[in-house]
Symmetry: C2
């Protein structure tokens, strides 16, 4: 009875290729970023694109959802630095980064997953929230909370509603617009100014 628990050299045969693993995950992400929904995503297509045999995929993940979850987990979400002096400036930066990201197709399509496939793939949606949404939400919450603490914002401000208004307004513009082209460049400023007006003493 040899213990399998610890130990470094635990491989009797040929070790699994990290390169193949990365190629698979990249292929999956790329295809999602190109607009392929999770439903249409096929293992065969991923294998072909990654230059890998189907066996290599099935040896690691038992189904499509597991693979996609792992793939999403590798996505790093760079959060803007929110260390400016004023709440307004931090909010403008935050909204600006949101607006920037909607120009990257990758981000757009990943957001679509979070929004649309959440009904059918709860695991996936939860994982996504954990990775992409939560840290940002914390960052924005901190900005607003600091504003309340410092007196720059009123003490009775409902932080959750304020966050929803700011984030929701930007999302609304970028996702529900009839015409995506005519977004004004100063949108972050306009949203920040209008909403913060109601939050100041």
């Amino acid at each position: 009875m040899v213990t399998e628990e610890m130990g470094a050299a635990r491989a009797p045969g040929r070790p699994r290729s990290e390169k193949a693993e990365k190629a698979i995950v990249d292929a999956a992400i790329d295809m999602i970023a190109e607009g392929t929904g999770v439903a249409e995503l096929s293992i065969e297509a991923i294998a072909a694109r990654a230059g890998v045999g189907k066996t290599t995929i099935y040896r690691r993940w038992s189904n499509k959802e597991d693979l996609v979850v792992d793939a999403l987990a590798t996505l790093k979400a760079p959060i803007p630095v929110l260390d400016a002096a004023s709440v307004r400036e931090n909010v403008v930066r935050y909204l600006g980064s949101m607006q920037q990201e909607t120009h990257h197709r990758r981000t757009r399509c990943i957001m679509n997953i979070a929004l649309s496939e959440s009904e059918r793939y709860p695991h996936l949606a939860e994982r996504f929230r954990e990775i992409a949404i939560k840290p940002r939400r914390e960052a924005l919450r901190s900005v607003i909370q600091r504003g309340v603490d410092s007196g720059e914002l009123r003490a009775d401000v409902d932080v959750e509603v304020a966050m929803a208004a700011l984030t929701g307004a930007m999302l609304f513009f970028t996702k529900w617009r009839d015409n995506e082209d005519d977004l004004p460049l100063d949108l972050p400023e306009r949203i920040a100014d209008q909403i913060l007006t109601g939050l100041r003493p």
Copy 2:
């Protein structure tokens, strides 16, 4: 050369069954409302559910997307009456109806289509916007505009941003929440009060 333009009795043979047509459209809508994505929606399943032959479907629509577009077009979106005296009351009603609708799975799933399939099915998304989103947006815009005109809101209010903040905040709460259960019942009031604070003289 007989003109085919006008005329009532233009049917040589058996007329097409309106009942069958309605059954097909209903079946498609029901399946979408139950969570079936457009991609997984199969003509065969629609035919079976509607109790019609595939022939009957292909005789009317050449592909799935055309059918879904037509199906969405039959959806009537009941818009709340916004004739209260105050802007606040109208906004609360509007947000309240939004919150209500997210409890109907039908509405949720249809919203998902608008949000998620918009990349892959542009026709569909456009049609949906025309039917479901635009009238509501007009209703809310009218409420805010009337508030500005009557002096209840400031003259320099950015109506578009205000709409985005109100609608976006509610959407954010209902769609991006970690935990969907703990939505406070007075959410419409809280959102309205907080945001309208910044819009008043």
